[in-house]
Symmetry: C2
Subunit: 333 residues, 2 copies
DNA sequence: TTGAAAGCGGTACCAC
DNA sequence: GTGGTACCGCTTTCAA
């Protein structure tokens, strides 16, 4: 096996100087005279010297890379978050390793154990569905005791003491429901494919509260993603509903689709508020009113929190709450 | 609090055996007797021993991680590819570092130089727009001479000798255009925001050829993403066009949007064939006929090619061509 | 079958 | 201001 990169040792031979001198010069140590610094740097550049990161990391006991663990990348929200993280980390000295768990606990645990040994310095994670439902999180605890900080976002676990960034899911759906009520709607259903997730539950609670303080019994329709269309169809044929809050993208698209199939006038006969990316929302017809979670901001906050924690491991845990906003479009004018 | 991971040295003390013995035992060397192997493994498990990857990699001169470099993650195609790559790499012993260049040459070059020194074993890349337009690719050559194999996909560079995975862009747009002609369309325009990219050029050539062999002069409309809507508006008000081939997502969405604004009957008065994710295409109205590039497959192929090349560095270069397929939907019945 | 020791390529402490 | 050297944790000859 051959390595092509020039090393300090080789530079030292070429320059007739000690390895340590060269190392110091390249790290701009004050111990080295400006003259030799200049000379050394010039030769280093000439030979395109790149310090070996593995060696450096091994010596310093840190890896300069962070791990981002998300359940899926198809999801527009998670990819937004990813871009946010990237925007902060890329200009820093860190690298990002991205892993996708596909909502599997086993996959998530594996990622954490293999990475937390010696390949990353810390984690940013949205916990997998299976992890949330089974409430198994030994892998998180192991990483923490192994001194690898974790930042959780969106899908967070109460029982894990770490920094967290979440959306005000409860309030945002509460507000959205209230908004529908203000608009004169009086039979509002909630449609969801994510009610096994903490976020789904919070959103549903927000709906509950808004409804309960008013007039009708909650109408909650949940189904797995592949059955959500059928379920909505049933809902719309059995009940006279004049508004829908759909709390995830699949639920939103299904609701809109079925409503159109039934030739309901939107938003006159049926208003819809949902979740979707901006591009998607704007290109649907009618354009979908959405609750915007500001994934980009969340990603940035996570990255900043992690960088900070890697510097100051002793500061108190932070829970940051991002306020979602309602983007009013045609489905709810 | 637990100390960081236990090391071979510490195990050696606990077991009263030499470090080398333990290392060999854990690596299932035939030099070690089954009895001691068993004993060592048991104790290692008990203390949850995880080998330090940095040390191992430093010693072995490989990193067991690969780098994926893409221009954007917002783009559905690239995230499809990413999932494909992940599906192959995740079960392997490798990790993935993902970097986003935002189409910037400078960013791309930086990623390559920082990663190719000693943090990854190889690259999968779709080259940035700026790199393609300026034709500067010293960073690729440097990586290659540094013995880090590169797999290019979609956005590839003729002058770089490496494995490549591309879509048959020319043929697929040629075929799509022919399809429109067969449908009786006789004024077909091409709309694009990516004509500075090689893929854009190939697609345009495909359109050219299909048109030139028939009746009218090519009508080609290009603009940057933020001006594409205006440009399409102009096109549709000046010319009587009865079909559009839009060769990227923005162009597709803009074309559909403007056509609807002008109350054109689709596909009767205007047919549209475009590029978009399946979810997007199916939720537009009318549903968009798309050219499907099979990003997932491309990602898988890239990953397989890279893993293979990391094993057999001497095999001849491969250029794999994936056939795009036409998904007929409402905009072109 | 087991162990000692030489590195991998850096950093940092301590002499001079 | 410069140089010698001991590590970081692991793998791999080579000896015993």
């Amino acid at each position: 096996m051959h390595r092509n990169n020039i090393t300090l040792k080789e530079l030292s031979k070429k320059l007739g100087l000690a390895i340590s001198t060269i190392s110091k010069a390249l790290n701009d140590s004050h111990e080295i005279s400006d003259a030799t610094k200049k000379r050394i740097k010039q030769v280093a550049k000439q030979y395109n010297y790149q310090p070996n990161k593995m060696a450096r990391n091994l010596k310093l006991g840190k890896t300069n890379t962070i791990s981002v663990v998300i359940p899926s990348i198809q999801n527009y929200f998670f990819s937004q978050v990813l871009i946010g993280i990237e925007s902060i980390i890329a200009p820093s000295a860190y690298n990002i390793i991205i892993s996708i768990t596909s909502e599997s606990l086993q996959k998530e645990a594996q990622v954490f154990t293999t990475l937390s040994s010696s390949v990353v310095d810390g984690f940013i994670v949205a916990v997998a569905e299976e992890t949330q439902t089974t409430q198994k999180f030994h892998h998180f605890k192991a990483a923490l005791t192994n001194n690898k900080p974790i930042i959780m976002f969106d899908r967070v676990l109460k029982s894990i003491p770490c920094d967290k960034v979440v959306v005000n899911d409860f309030e945002s759906v509460f507000n959205a429901t209230k908004h529908l009520i203000t608009k004169g709607k009086n039979t509002i259903a909630l449609v969801s494919t994510i009610n096994n997730l903490s976020v789904g539950k919070s959103r549903t609670k927000g709906y509950y509260k808004a409804i309960n303080t008013t007039f009708h019994k909650p109408i909650i329709v949940t189904a797995p993603k592949n059955k959500i269309k059928k379920t909505v169809k049933k809902l719309l044929s059995n009940k006279t509903v004049d508004a829908i809050i759909a709390i995830d993208e699949e639920a939103s698209l299904a609701s809109l689709k079925i409503a159109k199939k039934r030739n309901l006038q939107i938003p006159k006969q049926l208003s819809i508020i949902g979740y979707a990316s901006k591009t998607m929302a704007k290109n649907l017809c009618p354009k979908l009113t959405t609750i915007n979670q500001h994934g980009f901001t969340i990603g940035q906050d996570c990255a900043l929190l992690l960088l900070d924690r890697l510097k100051h491991n002793d500061k108190p845990m932070v829970k940051k709450i991002i306020n979602a906003t309602l983007n009013i479009r045609e489905t709810c004018l």
